[in-house]
Amino acid sequence: MIIGALQFPPIENVVEWPAWFGQGQAYAFNKIAFINLLAAIITIVIFAIAGSKKQLVPRGVQNIAEVSVQFIRNEVIAPGIGHGGERYLPMLISMFFFLFFSNITGIIPLFNMPATARMATPIVLALLAWVWFIGVGLKHHGIRYITGALFPPGVPKPLYLLVTPIEFVSTFLVRPFSLAVRLFANMLAGHILLVTFSVLCITLWGFKPLVAALPLSLFMLIALTGFEVLVAFLQAYIFTILTAVYIGGALHPEH
């Protein structure tokens, strides 16, 4: 695609990656799969190292792991689930780290692509969250969880004609898609912004009449790179805490 003198790559070139092996198969392994796997491995390595150290005053990797456990406990589980939420710590901490490392690769040289800028990772985790919170609701409250969600108490009966479809759509249909689309859209937008300013910098560098504008473009690229660090963390946190809130709503529907 050529816009004036700026040659912006086609979108599929920005977000799609060829398979390294297994082309055409369901197990085809590409850059996105590699980032997902790497996110899991890095998290495992962090906790393996942290678990092997038993210092009274934690330092380094042990400190990172313990602080993150405290963070998920105090900032995700406590406000999102409350009483009885400790059992969901392994899933939530795995989700947070997996998403964070999948996001942060968007600004790491040689990767330059967040795995979550592809729909696969967000939709897998969103569907997992969806299955999980419905499963928690059914396990603890049986079918009353569904009926309670669809027919909220205290509502005049005629209004159920309006409320029940809205509750069904908002609680059981929209939630996984909103979770997935929020993460995917934010990371894709950030990725496209970085690509845009990178392409602009390259173009300005080669286009002498406008080379004076290069510092501005470079500054924007650096600023957006810094901003993407924040976005990577924030989106992982938002996804995790919303999952916790959904689980908390299913566990304590009276709240």
Binding site: G51, Q70, I123, F184
Partner: protein, 182 residues
């Protein structure tokens, strides 16, 4: 012609991949990677970290309990010390009061003794003064009587017996005193 155009468009649409839709292989790897992570975290790697944190929490709790206990012991020691100080203060006050009473008694005793001594000295002095006065009077009386007898001897041109005259004078004086007192 139209059919060919539609077929071409369909072929083109097949080639054009929607970048928003998830692809199967990425879903497979994302799911596999996350479930691997989740299971390993749940059953292997999270527990040791949690154990270390719990142990630290336990140690902190014990240390805090020990500190509270030590603080409580210190409070007890302070209370016992204060109690002892109170007892000592009461004892000291008692000792001071007893000493003050003893001093008061001693002072009173000394004062009484001094007064008694003063009275005794005063009585003795009075007695000595009385004796001296009596002696002086007796001497004076003898001298006056001698002068009077001597004068009377000159008046009557005759020697008067001094002792007899003195006895007369003595009787007279005694009689005058008795008469005066009567």
């Amino acid at each position: 012609m139209l059919a060919a155009a539609l077929l071409l468009a369909a072929e083109e649409a097949k080639k054009t991949v929607n970048p928003i839709l998830p692809v199967t292989e990425e879903i497979v790897w994302a799911a596999a990677s996350f479930f691997l992570l989740w299971m390993l975290m749940r059953y292997v790697f999270l527990a040791p970290v949690m154990r270390v944190m719990d142990e630290r929490e336990g140690r902190l709790r014990e240390a805090r309990a020990e500190a509270d206990s030590a603080s409580s012991g210190a409070d007890d020691a302070v209370a016992a010390y204060n109690a002892r100080v109170d007892v000592a203060r009461v004892e000291a006050n008692g000792i001071v009061a007893a000493a003050r009473d003893e001093a008061e008694r001693y002072r009173a005793r000394q004062l009484a003794e001094a007064n008694a001594a003063i009275h005794a000295q005063r009585d003795q002095a009075s007695a000595e003064v009385g004796a001296a006065k009596a002696a002086a009077l007796a001497q004076l009386r003898t001298q006056v009587a001698g002068v009077a007898v001597s004068a009377a001897s000159r008046v009557v041109q005759k020697d008067l017996a001094l002792d007899a005259q003195l006895q007369v004078i003595e009787d007279y004086v005694n009689g005058s005193i008795e008469g005066g007192t009567r």
